[in-house]
């Protein structure tokens, strides 16, 4: 069995066992799509911070946060934090590389399906959004956000490798998150005066032939890089 084939089988097993959270995620993303479609007019008029913020959360962290409790990161004794599946799979004759691939497939399916749903809902149901894009720029816009989801969002799946984290490490992590949100709050209005999502719409419209390959490259780089990070962190962690 090739690595990817085995990884797909492992992913299928977990996805079949997590049907409930898959449906929860579907309902959540439908609600999100409805919210974005209906608030896009307000966003386009200039009230953008929370739209940008939630839009980024949808692409970066929600697929991981919305998974069922049994499939999420948890403290598994001592100071070990990881997803339970990772411990289970390492006790079976499965190469670490295949485990990583399976985690990426699971996250990819959890994120891509629903994110695409949202990206399709916007031009389909929002007249304001439709007026801003052409078929080509829409394709570029979708590719930008899907690539961004991989390049930045897949940090969530890489972090499933977990590790041995004490209170200090947790405080440091929360401090970094707080700093990142603060930086976003203060820097985004300066860097993207019309809002970050709007900036990507414009970039997709102005330079589609430049943006599409660049985004694909970014996504591919992220796909490879986060797999490397996960493998590295798995080698470092003590699953005791």
């Amino acid at each position: 069995m090739t690595d990817w084939k085995l990884a797909a089988r492992l992913a299928k097993t977990e996805l079949a066992a997590s049907k409930k959270s898959f449906f929860t995620l579907l309902v959540f993303f439908l609600l999100m799509s409805f919210t974005f479609v209906n608030s896009f007019e307000v966003y386009a008029a200039g009230d953008f911070f929370f739209f940008d913020f939630i839009f980024l959360l949808v692409f970066l962290v929600f697929p991981s946060w919305m998974k069922g409790k049994e499939f999420q990161m948890a403290k598994l004794g001592g100071d070990l934090w990881t997803v339970p599946a990772l411990v289970m799979l390492q006790q079976l004759p499965i190469k670490k590389d295949v485990i990583v691939k399976s985690r990426f497939l699971i996250y990819g399916i959890h994120s891509a399906v629903f994110q695409l749903l949202l990206l399709i809902a916007l031009p389909t149901f929002s007249t304001e959004f439709r007026e801003l894009v052409t078929p080509l720029s829409l394709i570029a816009f979708v590719i930008i956000w899907m690539s961004l989801s991989v390049a930045a969002g897949f940090v969530m799946v890489a972090s499933e490798a977990g590790g041995n984290f004490g209170t200090k490490a947790f405080l440091a992590a929360w401090l970094w998150i707080a700093l990142a949100v603060a930086a976003m709050y203060f820097l985004f209005p300066v860097l993207f005066p019309e809002g970050f999502v709007m900036w990507t719409i414009h970039v997709a419209g102005d330079w589609p032939f430049l943006v599409i390959p660049a985004a694909i490259l970014l996504g591919y780089g992220g796909w490879r890089y986060w797999q490397y990070v996960m493998k590295r962190d798995m080698a470092k962690a003590d699953y005791l």
């Binding site: 069995m1 089988r9 492992l10 097993t13 977990e14 079949a16 066992a17 997590s18 069922g68 049994e70 499939f71 598994l76 001592g78 997803v83 339970p84 599946a85 990772l86 411990v87 289970m88 799979l89 390492q90 006790q91 079976l92 004759p93 499965i94 190469k95 670490k96 080698a235 470092k236 962690a237 003590d238 699953y239 005791l240």
Partner: protein, 320 residues
């Protein structure tokens, strides 16, 4: 290759706990039971064998390949059933079988069905919804048919009821009938050790206390009822009662009795449980004739109370 598992000078520090250095070799056709007090490092050692943590020092070789190396094929040779099954909760027995069985070329479906039937395991139930005993039975039903050379079991009998314990003991004995297999298991149950073990590996505070061949160990400890108690210590004396004395060197003790004109009225072997208790309670150890024995006397609490009749000694002999 003469061994399925080789552990060389393995050391690991986890917070305040230090494991090792541990040396251990598991040969085909043997069952080794790791015994020790709670927190002695038994489960940690098993997890290190499975490559679940980095070694600070030493190496572990499974099927000729180093654990933790780039080649992960060694995992094909091991079945591991931990004490706590993490990550299994969301799956039904059927789903777990679907996940595990195809990973092993030698999967024995017939054996799996036999175990499921004899333990009455509902495969459609979610693992997380099963009782601890049922979970353990399912874990074992999914372990034995894998047909690997080495099986590592962490307290496999813990949650099992009495009939299931017997059933599992029989299954393990059957499993071992296939040549070139070996079992490494931890257990607190003397009954398991007595019935299953060929070797006993004792651990204490993360260190090796001794690696014993079970029969040799039990034969090395004897209790003698004697007509008078000598003033001095008999060779390798471990405990002394009113009329009885325990030694870890029976032959030398018998020579001592003869030399000092002491008559042996009766003698008996020592229960394995008692031997293990002696060994686990005593430190440091010193090696005598290839067998490790406690260096100091057993505390008085271990000495049999002369007021309490010993069921092993016939009344006539007690009087005599």
């Amino acid at each position: 290759m003469s061994e399925w598992l080789r552990i060389d000078a393995v050391q690991k520090t986890v917070d305040e706990f230090r494991l090792g250095p541990i040396d251990l070799m598991i040969e085909p056709g043997t069952i080794t039971v790791i015994a020790g007090m709670n927190g002695s490092g038994k489960s940690t050692l098993l997890k290190l064998i499975m490559g679940l943590a980095k070694l600070d020092h030493g190496r572990i070789i499974v099927g000729g390949k180093p654990v933790g190396g780039a080649d992960e094929d060694w995992k094909q040779h091991i079945t591991y059933v931990p004490q706590k099954l993490i990550g299994w909760d969301p799956y039904t027995g059927e789903a777990l079988k679907g996940l595990i069985a195809p990973l092993y070329g030698g999967w024995d479906e017939e054996l799996f069905q036999k175990i499921i039937k004899s333990f009455n395991i509902p495969l459609s139930k979610r693992f997380g919804k099963m009782s601890p005993g049922l979970q353990q039975k399912l874990a074992l039903a999914l372990a034995l048919p894998r047909g690997t050379r080495l099986m590592i079991l962490d307290e496999p009998m813990n949650s099992l009821d009495i009939p299931s314990r017997k059933g599992l003991t029989d299954l393990l004995a059957d499993w071992m009938e296939v040549e070139e297999r070996a079992i490494l298991m931890t257990s607190h149950q003397v009954e398991d050790i007595r019935k299953l073990a060929d070797f006993i590996f004792l651990m204490q505070n993360g260190e090796t206390l001794g690696h014993y061949e079970k029969e040799q160990l039990t034969e090395s400890y004897r209790r003698y009822w004697i007509d008078r108690m000598p003033d001095g210590e008999i060779p390798e004396e471990l405990a002394r009662g009113h009329m009885d004395v325990v030694t870890a060197m029976p032959e030398a003790a018998e020579q001592y009795f003869e030399k000092h004109g002491i008559n042996v009225m009766d003698q008996s072997g020592i229960e394995l449980e008692e031997i293990i208790s002696y060994l686990l309670d005593q430190k440091p150890l010193r090696r005598v004739s290839g067998i490790e024995v406690p260096d100091t006397k057993v505390p008085d609490t271990k000495v049999p109370d002369p007021k309490v009749p010993d069921p092993k000694v016939p009344d006539t002999q007690k009087k005599g």
